[in-house]
Symmetry: C2
Subunit: 347 residues, 2 copies
DNA sequence: CGGCCCTGAGAAAACCTTTTCCCAATCCGC
DNA sequence: GCGGATTGGGAAAAGGTTTTCTCAGGGCCG
């Protein structure tokens, strides 16, 4: 009577037992038919498969996981509430894992040890195959101890525990990209405005900045360290362009993040200094929503977080599969996204 | 020999069988002891519990789920890649569920039907107890059909399917908060600059804006619709303050989001118009990173997404528990976060 | 024609926990 | 001291799948 004999969504999931019954075989045979295991006539196999398809059979992952001791599930732990860094990373992780049938539990632990403990225990109880730890800065630990977990852990964009596998962006390399881009464009008086000295990346980037300038025989002006904010960008422009005579002004500013760069660009405009004609500006993070709203749109260093996430996902998977991985920190290259805040190279 | 007899992290999880053996009882008794079921001497119960604690026993969720037909797992489906709306919502969901032992699979399906299908099937295979669908705008469906799923679905901040349960922010109410705030401060010539006409929220907010003004016998100027960008904010200021004589200028601007507001504030400053002295500005979304960076910091309508998420989580849970829920869309109130872009009320 | 091997398929254990019955022993009142 | 109720605890099934072992039958070689 039913108008269609196609797979209908019944009220309760169809089990292997039902498939087997419908196909007139045992569950063992049915299982083997669907998994390509065991020996049987091609005809039997196909008949079972057809039955399964028709019934809309989907194996119960819970039962499979229980038996195989693999849940095809991983946990992503973060303390990056706004997801500025975690979400691109998560996208990469998810992308790497989705077609292997692995799903991701996302847990934000804020900076709360108790919450972290709670989430980690929930994950362990759910028998996740592994955990990826990530955060909002690479020189701080998550507020939770993952060091004796009996499941693999990968640290991505957060400080790894000793002896663990960590993936981070190559901040020095990213800074290098920025400064060398300025050089190629003929800029020579390059300033660096960055975040608080308490961040390791601030020093990594500043050092690369110095290195590149020295390698090219150029004067190094001391990086200006402040906050990760627009306001600090304004202040820094004040410092850079306030006192010195025009000839002492920089013709390029490499900023520690996009918000600083935004502040810098706005402050320059307010002073009547043209970007990119008088001064080129490069940001860091390539936070599109900011970089595309600056006037002009901001050239910025992208940390390739999504790639980082994908690599982390793949690394975790190979760890889960029992392949040993060399502990230590692996740095992944950044890339420069060129927009309009640096001008064109001289003809 | 071992220096400590405290629970050590062994290589393989300890099972109930092991606890039972160690305590000299059957698994049945052990199970009942730990769950507070069955009858036994208080002493036996405590001994088993102590054994379990000492061994670091944690029940295998997979086995429990298989039996109880509840996985204590839900899926959060979104197409909001940057998580601007999804993440606060996720935080609320997670917060509502974590201490009930429920974990959340986060899946970003972009706008890709194939990807959506893939993720939904993965979730169903993993036997999630329910799904929360969310997105980046409330008048569009996710690119995936969740209407015949045999598990409960809650739509939060996305367009629900017919007959489903949906939770959204009360945009009209939020707009009302903003305009009434202006009125309380003595502002009378209130303009509205919003996003594209293709968004339902644009109309909802605009209508509330008109209503409040009419209710107060004030002139309604037609809302200016454009884009959700800073650039449009600039343009709108041009339109509002470009031609008319000074006496025709608004003394307040209610903006459709914080980025527009940011553009408006910047454009006003560039024209030498003071905020909040000459013109008050209110944004929408309360995107802190933007609202706090404007000069002055932006008063903005917060959609309480985290509350929305918590409500969605609780609603899903009660659905999972079999409590029927009234289908239809429930609107949750917004709140106004007052910063410095509107000034103080007249004494 | 007999023994051996191969083929196709099923029975059953295993994964880990919960829960329903069931049983033996103890206790109570009479 | 005896019948019945209660108490403390165990055996076993269930949940859905995978995998190993086993087995019956048929073909082939000698």
């Amino acid at each position: 009577m039913s108008p269609d004999a196609s797979p209908v969504s019944v009220n309760t999931p169809v089990t292997l037992r039902e498939v087997a019954a419908a196909a007139g075989v045992s569950v063992a045979t049915a299982s083997k038919a669907l998994n390509g295991q065991g020996r049987m006539t091609a005809e039997t196999r196909e008949r079972i498969r057809e039955t399964a398809r028709h019934l809309g059979f989907r194996p119960n992952s819970l039962a499979q996981s229980l038996l195989r001791k693999r849940s095809f599930t991983v946990g992503l732990l973060t303390n990056d509430t706004y997801g500025r860094f975690s979400l691109p990373l998560m996208a990469g992780v998810s992308d790497a894992l989705v077609d292997k049938g692995v799903s991701v539990f996302l847990c934000n632990v804020e900076d709360d040890t108790r919450l972290g403990q709670l989430h980690v225990e929930a994950m362990l109880d759910k028998r996740v195959d592994g955990i990826i730890a990530t955060g909002k800065r690479i020189d701080r630990h998550l507020p939770v101890d993952l060091s004796n977990l009996r499941i693999p852990v990968i640290y991505a964009f957060t400080q790894p525990d000793a002896g663990a596998v960590g993936l981070v962006s190559d901040d020095a390399g990213g800074a290098r990209l920025a400064v060398e881009h300025f050089l190629r464009l003929g800029r020579r008086r390059i300033a660096h405005v960055s975040g608080p000295a308490s961040f390791a990346v601030v020093h990594a980037r500043a050092e690369a900045y110095r290195d590149v300038l020295k390698e090219n025989g150029l004067a190094v002006s001391e990086p200006l360290l402040g906050a990760w904010s627009e306001a600090w960008g304004h202040e820094a422009v004040e410092k850079l362009f306030g006192s010195a005579g025009r000839e002492g002004w920089p013709d390029a500013i490499f900023c520690g993040n996009d918000q600083i760069a935004r502040g810098v660009i706005d402050a320059l405009r307010e002073r009547g200094i043209r970007v990119p004609d008088d001064v080129g500006v490069i940001g860091f993070d390539n936070w599109e929503i900011v970089a595309e709203a600056t006037r002009p749109p901001l050239t910025s260093v992208d940390m390739n977080l999504s790639t980082l996430g994908r690599e982390a996902g793949l690394a975790l998977l190979s760890l889960v599969d029992g392949q040993p991985a060399a502990p230590g920190i692996r740095k992944l290259p950044c890339r420069l996204v060129v927009r309009q805040s640096c001008g064109s190279p001289p003809e």
